[in-house]
Amino acid sequence: MLEAQLDAIKSEVKDKIGAEDAAYIRRIILIQRICEWSGRILLMLGFLQPLLWVAGVLSLAAAKILDNMEIGHNVMHGQYDWMNDSHINSKRYEWDIACDGASWNRVHNYEHHTYTNIIGKDRDFGYGLLRLSNDFRWRVKNLWQFATYILLSVMFQWGVSYHEMAAERVFFGKKKKNRKNQVTHSELKKHFFSKGARQLVKDYVLFPLLAGPLFLWVLSGNLIANLLRNLWTSTIIFCGHFTGDVETFKAEDCKNETRGQWYYRQALGSSNIKGGNLFHILTGHLSFQVEHHLFPDIPARRYREMAPKVQAVFKQHGMHYNTGSFWKQYTSVLKRIVRYSFP
């Protein structure tokens, strides 16, 4: 029943996908490029007028956020693969963050989206750093996990990048069925360092050097832009997954689950944030986290029209549709982090 209803919502939207969506993503990519280049140029004009530098930082941060969220995340989910355009394609797209695209694809696209919130299988839950539910034993380090959280947010791109490696080590020796290592550890390391190094060189050596005497202006501008992007993405992602009433699941519950049950788990494992047009775009439409988890490969801008229908279906089944304002969701995340700091 639930399965059929959600499938119907999906196929209805699927029929509409076409030229409009292709034009949309191309437009966003164009805007992203404009933001990026004007940001980089403005940073160098900072010596004329510091405000120009500030504008440059903001513009570059906006470019990085768009690249990460509305373009990178969504394209890599295969949302635009139907376009047959090799530049806008889940296998080819490489984003402007430290994490190697293919690694993200394996951990996030496969593990997190298949095994959403199944403790032990979805390694995104708490990122192995935070204790966010009673499913994990309390350890002393959880006492200061709020500080850990802040650090994770600041360094978020590196956290994402390190994710697969960290996880592989955690699960080392405990090879589960169905988890086949597609990449050797040495390859993982190689990708981690080469992609990471490229990012560091680009933002903190190459562009500052290009600016010549303005080296420090550009360097600090890039640093702040990256920081803003990290904080923003981390916050949005935490709000989508770790609000107060998000539920977790046990591996046993999910053996041989049907598609309907998978939908059910996706639905209760994520939460939405209300907001305006620009807000949705900047979150890459992850403000519609529920819809995203139900339909990860539908172009994200379509989640807006799907949301009311999904909500109606949930209501009919008496399921909780987790949504709220940004501040409400964010406070509830912070509460959750603090709450599980203690045994």
Partner: protein
Amino acid sequence: MQQVKPAWRDGYYRAQVEAVRNLSSDMLEVILTPEKAWPSHIAGQHIALTIEVNGRLTTRVFTVVCGASFHRETKNIRLITKVNNEGALTPALSSITPNTWVNISAPKGNFTLPNTDKPVLMVAGGSRITPFIAMLEDAIENNLIHRAPVHLLYFAKPNEHVLQSELLALQKRANNFTFAVLTRQKDGDVKDYLSHFADAHWLVCGPNAMYEQVHEVAKLVRAPLDSEHFASLPTVNIESLSEKETFSLVHNGQHLSVNNQKSLLSQLQEAKQPVTYGCGMGICHQCQCVKKRGVVRDTRTGELSDSAEQLIQLCVSQAVTDLEIQL
């Protein structure tokens, strides 16, 4: 980049649409101006044309229906196609406006006029007359046709012969070139005619069945044979999908036979082929690969794919025709 150069795409050439004309109720002529970098073709070769249809890049193969000298002089090339109203590309092609940019591939194929002193016999079936028009045009233009006579047997269903006026015009320009317009219903099989041309070099372009007949006779009389035959796409009928059928799957140069009951992913795994995958349920796109040719069915929705090059997810695809994929 595409803002400055519309339709700029890595690995493709660009071409601008010069004109689109209806030759008849269902035949369409498209004149394109390829960019300078495009390596010119040899008459008889084909190109892959890519246009955006409702946001999706769609590719089909077309013969270039003009000689290389025509391209040299006018900077244009000509394509001719039947409009298939159910098709994905040709209806969109008929509504394309002049000056639009499209993508084309480099010219491909080695179905060209042989360098021989023997007489030449051309056998064309249906709308596959197009490469011969190009070859004849160039041969006449370059005075090559004086060496030996060229005869063309042109088969099609009654009243479906196309470009006859062009054939007549070509015949006027070269008295060494003759052609016969035939229909199987009235004039019988292609086989009946071949015996007269045992000493010629044969060229065949048409449906598979016709090719096989010609090929058989060619072997008997030892006539040299060049051919271009597209195994025409089988028409897929939904009812037959439930019956178990086996198809051939070509991937990375290897052959495998697959059935239409299980997903391609599971069959590739059973055959111990190196495939990457994740969820096995169509979410993660890990198992994605490029389908070069053939039709697959989406096991989630039952939808049939396009027959041209496309990205597919192996875990939710079943074979509906013979396939070629790139892992």
